[in-house]
Amino acid sequence: MLKIALVGNPNSGKTTLFNGLTGSNQFVGNWPGVTVEKKSGKLKYQDFEAEIIDLPGIYSLSTISLEEEIAVRFVIENKMDLIINIVDASSLERNLYLTYQLLDSKIPMIVALNCMDIVQKKLQQIDIKKLEDELQIPVIPITASKKTGINDLIKLIAAYDYAGQKHEHRYEDQIEKTIEVFENLIGDRFLAIRFFEDGLKILEPLKLPPEANAKMIEAYERESKHYQIDFDMVIPNSRYDAIIAVCEIVLTKNGTDVISVTEKIDKILTHKWIGLPLFGLIMFMVFFLAFGPIGTWITDWFVFGIEWLFSRVDTLIANLGMMPWVSSLITNGVFGGLAAVIGFLPQLAILFLFMAILEDSGYMSRAAFIMDRLLRKFGLSGKAFIPMLIGFGCSVPAMAATRTLDKDEDRKITTMIIPFISCGAKAPIYGVFAGALFFRASYVAVFSMYVLGIIVAILSAVMFKKTILKSASANYIMELPEYRMPTVKNTMLHTWERVKGFLLKAGTILLGAFIIIWFLSYFGFVDGTFRMLMEDEIEHSILGAVGKFLLPVFRPIGFPDWQATVAMLTGLVAKESVVGTLGILYGVAGNVVENGSLLYEPIRLAFTSAQAYAFMAFALLSTPCIAAIAAMKKEFNSWKWLIFSLLYEFVVAYLVALIIFQVGSLDQGVILSIIFGIIAIMIVVFSIRKFVIKRGAICDSCVNCSIKDNCHLPKKDEFLAIIDQKKEDDQDDRE
């Protein structure tokens, strides 16, 4: 079957076109870099059949992020039968750059000129015929979002002459001479051009013998002397010159050059003074709607419905007269666990919906733009803000949102620190403990938990960057896409994709985990016989035994009894169940989840305030719930990283709780210990921050640089010296 790849700039409408061509529903967003993995689908038209592959968006064949690397490797190494290069007509100049790079590869290509509606709105005209003549490849005008022109494109794909001669773009004479020198050494024109642009990096996968490599370097040095401008800028410059010439021929502008509507909206949304408060307000609204009264109200009804459904099934099962362990497995293990997870669903769906709207409209890019400065201080890119923010609601969607980050290392750091951010499910734990022991200061205690989580997250990010993930760059250079009205269909698809992902996870990995935990908590030895336990016999369960066994480990951090340990263990299923389990273990009659004050008395008897505070901190920071662990595994795609980060979280939680409890027990002055802890953390933060800022955001090493040792450009210090010199010259001129 023919293989056809969709290649284009981020946010140029590739995925929308992919849906149009294959009919399958895909994830589409107005955020540069939404598609992370490649996706393929089938195009059928009469007798014609082909495989269509949707790749991550790229600005150029020289890549800086993992997902771009995937896209480029795929196109170059897999010898596509045809490339459909989707070009955003509303930003023709920049988009054609990739087109010209692709032309060098001599892979058959069709240009799909997208967003023709926006071009018309801007009162511009593009002469398709002339563009075809200039590029010497077929050009089809389309508007992917409105499905116009798609049929013409399909007809063209089916009728395309795959064996025909391919046009080759010629550069200026001097450049052609250099290309020829390189071509004679490597034996391939396309590689020669790539070497010209990117230097030695291109040669790495070829595994040339050292002599050949040395020859290439020598040629590179020699050829670079022929040019006035920096060698790596020669080809891009030539390309852009060619593109400007083409644009002058094909593009007629009747209006002004400004991006009027987008600019008007941005005047408000990224305004110097109101931009930041508006951003805060928008984020607050999203959270308020998802986790505030409305979200809670919908969730309550949803949970009510689910419980009603499950209870009907329960009675049905009870009437069937199955063995007690089977019905317990279904009602307590499967349904109990699923109810705990699916209970999140309405809030998650609301959150996903708003995130989809913000993404599709183009606001997310602005959010990153606004927050970049703040996050840079901690070695993160502005784009990391959104995942962290979502983390206050639930870690699961937050981890999925890390995919929008550029580099794999940045993605890993963000995924690892998300669990430290206090998610919605942890709130009841603080509520009960703070309510029982901190009285009037209870809200201060609860708020301090959120602050503690943020501080630990930031410190961890800084530490990871300093140690194991040094190559994380937190680079920032980002296009601000034009605002678009999100369509109902795309927004719904977007939301559904994510909800579906969550449900599938709940249905597979989580189910297994719930069954294991059910087994551990409903079976155990009573008076020497191994049997199934009643609801109130959890003390004798395996989990109870484990809790008792582990108690010595948790004593130093202030766990008063095995009940606390077991409650914390059940928190692995869902953090909400910590409070519920405590209720059962302390023998409280009534629903402690809905009425936390029932637990106040037993907690006051068992915990001192230092112990309670340590318990809260441990619940906040320790290993997240299974749903989050599953999401983490998906994002890391590596057991090694998963186990490392789970261990890390456990150790950090343990240490923090240890300090809180030990210091707090000294003189019973809990408040004092909190203050002390905060001051200590502040000192560490500031000392580390100083260190980070010193490093600066400009690269001052040649690690990861394409030309490495062979760089004849001055180093950073020399650059700065040059610029300072030029500034002085400017001043002299003026005087």
Binding site: D198, I229, I259, T262, G275, G382, I477, F719
Partner: protein, 77 residues
């Protein structure tokens, strides 16, 4: 002068790019010698900056802008 010294609303033309980090990306995004740039605004916290280049909006940090040598064009102030 460098791109960092250009005030919002002013136009300039690139003379040279000394950026080391992200160099390739900056060039590929269309910032090459003699390209015209209009500085649009700074982010609310003063950094990054937003520029109009080749008909689209690009945002980049001042750290990078500091390494792009430019000359001011039009309305000298």
């Amino acid at each position: 002068m460098t791109l960092k010294d250009i005030l919002p609303g002013e136009k300039c033309r690139i003379k040279n790019i000394y950026v080391n980090n992200l160099r390739k990306r900056i060039i590929d995004m269309g910032l090459t010698t003699n390209t015209e740039i209009t500085v649009k605004k700074m982010a609310p916290l003063g950094d990054p900056m937003e520029i109009l280049v080749r008909g689209y909006l690009l945002t980049l940090r001042k750290a990078e802008a500091r390494m792009i040598e430019v000359e001011k064009i039009g309305g000298s102030s």
